[in-house]
């Protein structure tokens, strides 16, 4: 589904090297220290950064030279996922209509997406009037509505308390299964990864030092993983 093929990128003295493959409907956690290159990796996949060498393939198509909006993916950022002057409904609707012109079917789909994340009836609320968890739900609803096969998550719940974070991960888990989404989530918490993901890779100093299915790694943790347990 997603394949990084000999990616090489140098930015301000930092070098990222990555070869990686993520199967359809797999959910990969990218773990690593701050400054290790996690966000840079996501930015290469999303198209915000162009690698110096190597290819990005999504669904077997080489998208390395594609502009950001044309890549078949959604992204959740650490913060700033919502526009403060728009209500929850409009914020979700932007996922399918950047000009906010929706047909009846569109309105129905937005309403449904909000209901799916448990925010039915909250459409008029602006982000300022929503709690942190509710804001995350709005962003997730938009991601679902877009129906892009690949989702990139850049520590989207880092600001939430542990209880809410668990709740969001459970919600995502359920919705990913329903849509068969392929997911790449950057995190610095192994327990978050455990709740949602099927695979794990460790990114340190711009290089992938560990990569594989999550369950066996947790059963018999390799030495590289011990600091994260």
């Amino acid at each position: 589904m997603l394949q990084l093929d000999g990616i090489h990128l140098t930015l301000d003295g930092f070098t990222l090297r990555a070869d990686l493959s993520v199967a359809r409907s797999a959910r990969l956690a990218v773990l690593g220290p701050s400054g290790g290159g996690k966000t840079t990796l996501l930015n290469v996949i999303a198209g915000f950064l162009r690698p110096d060498a190597g290819r990005v393939l999504i669904d077997g198509r080489d998208v390395t030279g594609w502009p950001v909006p044309e890549r078949p993916l959604s992204m959740l950022f650490q913060e700033g996922n919502l526009f403060p002057h728009l209500g929850a409904f409009d914020n979700v609707a932007l996922g399918i209509a950047p000009n906010l012109r929706l047909g009846d079917a569109g309105r129905e789909a937005v309403t449904q997406a909000l209901a799916q994340v448990g925010l039915g009836g909250f459409g008029d609320r602006r982000p300022g009037d929503l709690s942190g968890g509710q804001r995350s739900r709005v962003a997730i609803a938009r991601m679902l509505l877009r129906r892009k096969p690949l989702a990139l998550l850049d520590e989207p719940f880092a600001a939430l308390d542990p209880g809410l974070r668990r709740e969001m991960l459970a919600l995502l888990d359920e919705l990913c299964r329903a849509q068969g989404l392929t997911l790449v989530m950057v995190s610095h918490d192994l327990r978050d990864a455990e709740r949602l993901c099927t695979d794990l890779c460790l990114l340190e100093d711009g290089a992938i030092s560990l990569n594989g299915p999550l369950a066996p790694m947790l059963a018999a943790p390799p030495a590289a993983l011990t600091p994260w347990l």
């Binding site: 915000f48 950001v68 909006p69 044309e70 959604s74 700033g80 950047p98």
Partner: protein, 521 residues
Amino acid sequence: MAERAQPLGAAHWAGAGVAALVLLAILGPLGAVLWRAEGLSALGPQDHGAIRFTVWQALLSALFSTALAIPVARALARRRFHGRTALIALMGAPFILPVIVAVLGLIAIFGRQGALNAGLAVFGLQGIEIYGLHGIVLAHVFFNLPLAVRLILQGWLAIPAERFRLAATLGFTSRDIARHMERPMLRQVLPGAFLVIFLICTTSFAVALILGGGPRSTTVELAIYQAFRYDFDLGRAALLGLVQVAICVVAGLLVLRVALPAGMGTGLDRPLERFDAQGGWQRAGDMAVIALSAAFLLLPLGAVFLRGVTGVAGLPGSVWQAAERSVVLSLATAALAVVLALPMALLIARGRAKGLLETIGALSIAVSPLVIGTGLFVILRPHVTPGSSALPVTGLVNALTALPFVLRALVPAVEEAEASHGRLARSLGMGGWARLRHVLLPRIRRPLGFGAGLAAAMAMGDLGVITLFATPQSGTLPLEMFRLMGSYRTDDAEAAALLLLGLSLALFWIFDRGGRVNAAT
């Protein structure tokens, strides 16, 4: 942070004393004006005309400055090109640019015999007129467009980078970005920018002095000057002064909050990461906007340089003497401004009566320099001749005018130095001079240099109070230049303009550099 256990040291008494002096130096003349204006006949029709004109030209100036600044700020926000940093730094320059020099440059381009009219004549079109409303608005736009660009650019850069990335993943077009991100930002930023520029333009004196003056283009400040200088009608000058105070009180306090640069465009040169607007037309449009605005700002200054450069060596002795007086005056003003600002900043940073002190420090913005000058004249008249007190009074008023700017630069740095090293210094038993010399001054050299440079350059280029008092023997360089323009000695005026421009920039540069060399932070 107020540390109440600390006894009030000598530095604190100095700060309180200075604050009291500043208050007296501003309120004293204001009181004198009030006292003199009492019981006088109401304002005449031409005075009402002046009030209307003041508001009207300020409205137009603010409207054009902000409207034109939007495309310029947008282009600067989303394009990277060579000279971008320099252009943004240039947007901070009007603060240290002598008004009269810029106006002379504008006359060279837009005046009756200017480059633009010459161009229009080639196509058989009628020329434009720079004196009167047009010219005043043009000059105000010249000075305030950069300010508006800076304010709006700040708004653009305050949009989180993540939001632009989000917009890209959602497939926003430039139009969608304008609708969901840029227009909401502009709705927040524009009213403030408009208001600040409107208020600055209601109090501008030198521009109106040079380009206005007829019955249909007299501002309130200009009317004060005329009442004082031509009719010697102190009562009417005082009454108009009160009107100006009313305008300024509203104006100044708001201006201080939004308008002052913390540095010369520092931090504004980060380009936005944009994933839209990559089309050829949009790119070309942005570059055209940038080229036009750069030309608008640079051509008048270039004209001053080209026309003045041959004449500098042949300037008459009177101009050189005025230049000498101006340099001395400007150095004295910078020194006085720093001497006033430093103790006040120390006291403000300690959190003692912070609100009161900050209000006193900002007070001079709310009172027109011309009104303070008039008041000082009323006070001093029985004791000294106006001519002999022209330079000291000008220096004092200029230092008071510069005080809010210097404070604005100093206070955050002093607060930071205190917060980071104050306790350490106290635990080492360092007090008074030792602390000031070894802990504080090394850490605030940069803003001190910047503030002193700003004060020096503002004093160098000032054409305000000096016009009230000066005799031919006590004129400053801007005043001498104004006289040369008035007697149509254009060549000499242009050479003097170049000299004035050079001196202003040099003074600012020397102080600002001096603060940076070997600075601790």
